[in-house]
């Protein structure tokens, strides 16, 4: 964990010692900063909400030593560096800034973890597609854990996991000779096929009364945390990158929202926040990680990060924890005794779209 030395930050005249103390991952031990007045921040934001104007206004706000801790935090965020290039001190400042802002915004103590990759850990994931029953509990647990937007307008609802429904298909005797062209001796092709084991376009928004359905199998899909991630390659500002312990993460404060990464991802793992995410205060998960599930802002891209706020502290990702059939396995690929290593050792595994050479660390297997 980070040192306990409280960083001194601008406009902190009113701050109590407890507010500046870096929080641990457990919000219970953390005392929130005094909530700043909400209204003045709103009007302030509106006034300078556009473009380079905002930079000028931000400088002005800092120079005039605005009492509004909220606004000051916003402007300081505006000028901060790419997370990867920050010094430890700067990371700490950014973290305290965010903790104070989020705590005031959501009315509860929020912690922003900045724990880095742990030595000797390379995260890996394996999913048993034979076991998956398509209940989508993983999807909902993920949304709750990772503070995804829950709005109702198109684009406001964000889910990182998609469960694809695949047809079992059906072959019948009477169709076996339905070749084409009809009436000629030689058949160029047949019509006896059914789309068995295939995802039909647009059909994964299934909504059955009960799962599993008789005529379907399921394949959950989310970010594959590729070893050769095409999304990272195309990012013009290096805001998305691979962390030392494997996951591909995003510095939400550095993202310019160009969406090249979304075009490059062969697994449709990334989402754009088309507006300020809808995150009710009561539902907000206060245990967050800087590169993980902290609340996002308008206009940036987000994706699965294997619950860094949990996994860097030895816990399972939310989807693994919630899976009722134990289809999801997560662990350290470098540890031969981990579940994932055991799966790779003993089961038949495959990776999705292996032909694209992205080398996912997310494996599918069956038993």
């Amino acid at each position: 964990m980070t040192p306990a030395q409280p960083p001194s930050i601008d406009s902190g005249q009113t701050e109590s010692p407890s507010a500046a103390t870096p929080a641990s991952a457990n919000p219970a031990t953390y005392a929130p900063a005094p909530a700043a007045p909400q209204t003045s921040r709103r009007s302030f934001l509106k006034a300078g909400g556009m473009l380079s104007l905002s930079s000028l206004m931000g400088t002005a706000a800092l120079m005039t030593q605005s009492d509004d801790a909220h606004a000051a935090a916003e402007w300081a965020e505006h000028f901060q560096k790419n997370y990867r290039l920050m010094t430890d001190q700067e990371k700490l400042e950014a973290r305290v800034r965010l903790e104070r802002r989020y705590s005031a915004e959501y009315g509860k103590p929020v912690s922003v973890d900045i724990t880095g990759p742990q030595p000797g850990v390379l995260m890996g994931y394996a999913l048993n597609i034979r076991k998956c029953i398509g209940c989508r509990r993983c999807v909902h647990a993920c949304v709750a854990e990772n503070n995804q937007s829950r709005g109702t307008r198109p684009g406001e609802k964000i889910e990182w996991i998609q469960v694809l429904r695949m047809e079992r298909g059906k072959f019948e005797a009477e169709k076996m000779d339905h070749g084409y062209p009809e009436g000629l001796g030689i058949q160029v092709g047949g019509n006896a096929y059914t789309p068995a084991g295939q995802v039909l376009e647009g059909q994964f928004h299934y909504n059955p009364e009960a799962v599993p359905e008789k005529d379907a199998t399921y394949m959950p899909i989310a970010c594959m945390q590729c070893e050769k991630p095409p999304c990272v390659k195309v990012c013009p500002v290096r805001t998305t990158y691979r962390e030392g312990d494997g996951p591909v993460v995003i510095d939400y404060n550095w993202c310019i929202g160009c969406r090249m990464c979304m075009g490059a991802c062969p697994y449709w793992a990334r989402r754009i926040n088309v507006t300020t995410p809808v995150l009710p205060k009561a539902e907000m998960n206060p245990v967050t990680h800087y590169l993980g599930n902290r609340p996002r802002m308008r206009g940036v891209v987000e994706k699965c990060h294997w619950c860094l706020q949990r996994t860097r502290h030895g816990r399972y990702p939310a989807c693994v924890e919630v899976c009722p059939v134990g289809a999801r396995k997560f662990g350290n690929l470098l540890d031969p005794e981990s579940e994932v290593s055991k799966v790779l050792e003993r089961k038949n595994v495959f990776r999705l779209k292996a032909d694209l050479n992205t080398f996912p660390k997310f494996f599918y297997f069956y038993d």
């Binding site: 075009g263 449709w268 940036v300």
Partner: protein, 407 residues
Amino acid sequence: MRKLIRFATDYANYVLKGGKQFYAWMATLAVFIVAMLYVFYLQNTEGLIVTGMTSQIHEGLYFANLVFLVGVAAGAVTIVFPAYVYHHEGMHKVSVLGEMLAITAVIMVMMFVFAHMGRPDRLWHMIPPWGIYSLSSMLGWDVLVLTGYLILNIICGFYYLWCKYTGNPINKRWFIPLVFVAIAWALSIHTVTAFLIATMPARPMWHHTVMPIRFIATAFAAGPALIILIFLIIRKTTKFWIDDSAIQLLSTIVTWCLGIAIFLTLSEVVIELYARTEHANGLYYLMFGLHGLTRLVPWFWSAVVLMVGAFILFLTPAVRNNMKLLSIACAMAFTGIWIEKGMGLIVPGFIPSPIGEVTEYYPSFVEWLMTLGIWAFGFFVLTILLKGAIGILLGDIKFGGQTAVAK
């Protein structure tokens, strides 16, 4: 220095004075520009939710126009190249007008970049030393070559005008090499833009090698088609006469680049639809629709009709030698390529999504307003640049001369 200030004031005086028609034109454009500023404000307070873009189809009208206008910018080289490489007399006289068009188009591209971004307030993140420049990103390269092209054209264009203004001879020792650099650079901007989308195997519709040459071919058809239209307007509204030979050569270039573009499109259709793999789904959606969703089908076929129709018209001597009919053919080619290379290329790249979801994209009113506004701004800038350039070419703006007033 004094000369430079005189140049600026003479230029401004000449450009700002005009007839009723001129002011009416500029005022109309200004209305659209104001509307654009409003929707830009909306987009950066409400978010991209005011557009039709989603996580499924996250590039739309803005990106389509961006791609198309990079082509128009590159297309300006169809004037500069014959002028300086083949010493074409008629072209040489007007080559600076092509540079003015290139400047305008690049400015418009940059505005569409701003419109497209989720966080335009953070674009400085791309610019070192404050930001990070990523050499592995095609978008980074695109910004680099576009900025370079803008600077090259400003230098070449305005140095030429400056020499005409002051009456000094052009220093050919650095000017001519720079012009040749700009010619090669024009190819680079559109090639890199093609790479931008063609280097994504996740989008099979774009992932093929024909993309750069198809981009160049369509650019060298749409660009000069627009230039011909502008030339015809200039001939009509100013004293400046553009030689028939220049227009004739441009129309030949349009004809054969359009022919190549049609050929490449046809090849793609045959190759993709013969095997009809899943990778052809995007094209199939564009041509016939997929899962009952057919939003882009009329869009595609109208582009086919316009492009093939224009090609036939260009091949007909009675049309290409008649300036009135020629302008119709040019407008058809320009519109056809705008449709085909814009939304017709960008949107189906996302349909179906990499995991098989078929959704559709509808540009919202905000997007149309923004697009119209940026085009209006483009014409606003182009009018100013062309008017000034023509004033200098005509000798109406001259160092030491009386401040002349445009007709």
